[in-house]
Amino acid sequence: MRDPENDTEATDRLLLQRMAAGDRVALTVLYRSYHDRLCRFLSRLTRRPDIIEEVINDCFWIAWQKAGGFHGDSRVSTWIMGIAYRCGLKALRQHGSEPVDEDTIPESMIPSHDPDDDRELRDWLGKGMDRLSVDQRVVVELVYGVGHSLDDVAVIMQCPVGTVKARLFHARVKLRNVLPGLAGEPHRARESAT
């Protein structure tokens, strides 16, 4: 683990300890610290912008209640992402997993940043992610988006590491077959990548 990660982990643990003592300032700091990555993670998991804030608040509601029960068995980020993952799945069961119509999304939720350079990359990614299952999307997001190790992902998703490896493998095969090849290179199906 690199030093910046150690520093972040130490800070997060301190914040959790203060939260366990009822310190709302600590909750505020942790909330803001995790808001963006949870927002992105949950948008990939649920594809429901209308319920993301509710899920984030459910997640921190539980973190607030259970901060005193965190014994450091995993990193704080792993612990929080695990809570968010379960809250996201619960929200999907309650609200349905069908992506909402973009026209119904409030204008305030539409990002102001969307330069043309990014749009092409977003479209490229969107085509691939649409073909993945929920679990495969979650693994891809946790590994490539958040930067968790496979062991961490197994803790978050409460499944064996082998299952995580299998989900990531199948997700990569799908992406490789679905996504258009890079500029100047024809796309070829490669299902024999074993």
Binding site: I52, N57, I105
Partner: protein, 207 residues
């Protein structure tokens, strides 16, 4: 990756190691080994390039914009609400009210049953309880073992006596007089003087 078996195995291992190399979490040895393989393998190099593009795409800011401050404000408001929510749930739940009513009915029924049972004299007596009440003027009488039943009955009739208890372990019967006018002392003397009566004493009442 339809290459030779040996290269295929290495490609599989490289394929598995790519995420950690792409994310910069691989060891130096692993990183060196993967890049050495990529230099000679077009397939894996292409996959690696796509992996890097995937990482870059995943690192883009979220498609959804949410105001963290607004969400935080709602969360803090929610933290202050649970007591009120609990009260509201308690007062509005018909199921809870029905259960409370059922418990009250049961409690009242049990109370009534207890009162009724308390008024009845039990058909048994425990060792901790005082002795059974004895009628005033009762007498313990021990007849001789050879006394005939007819003589015993004649004696009881002659003195207007009735057996109310016994015989106990000592062979004593408890008798009471059915003639209120009969003086107790005289009755005792007559009984003691009767043939076939070995013992006649008044029952000592417990205080």
């Amino acid at each position: 990756m339809t290459v030779s078996t040996e290269n295929g195995r290495e490609c599989s291992r490289v394929w598995e190691a790519m995420p950690s190399v792409v994310m910069g979490t691989a060891t130096r040895e692993q990183d060196t080994w993967v890049h050495a393989h990529l230099a000679d393998c077009d397939n894996c190099r292409e996959e690696f390039t796509q992996q890097e593009r995937l990482r870059h795409a995943m690192a883009l800011p979220s498609d959804v914009h949410l105001d963290a401050n607004a969400g935080l404000k709602r969360l803090l408001t929610r933290l202050d609400a649970p007591a009120e929510e609990t009260v509201r749930v308690r007062t509005s739940s018909w199921l809870t009210r029905a259960l409370v009513a059922a418990v009250l009915v049961q409690a009242l029924g049990l109370g009534a049953l207890a009162l009724r049972l308390h008024g009845e004299r039990p058909a048994y007596r425990t060792l901790s309880q005082v002795s059974a009440p004895v009628a005033a003027g009762a007498i313990h009488v021990v007849p001789d073992a050879t006394m005939a039943l007819a003589d015993w009955n004649a004696l009881l009739q002659a003195h207007h006596l009735q057996v109310v208890g016994g015989p106990n372990e000592a062979g004593a019967y408890t008798l009471v007089s059915t003639d209120p006018a009969s003086p107790p002392d005289q009755l005792l003397r007559e009984l003691r003087a009767s043939r076939g009566i070995r013992f006649a004493e008044p029952v000592m009442r417990t205080p």
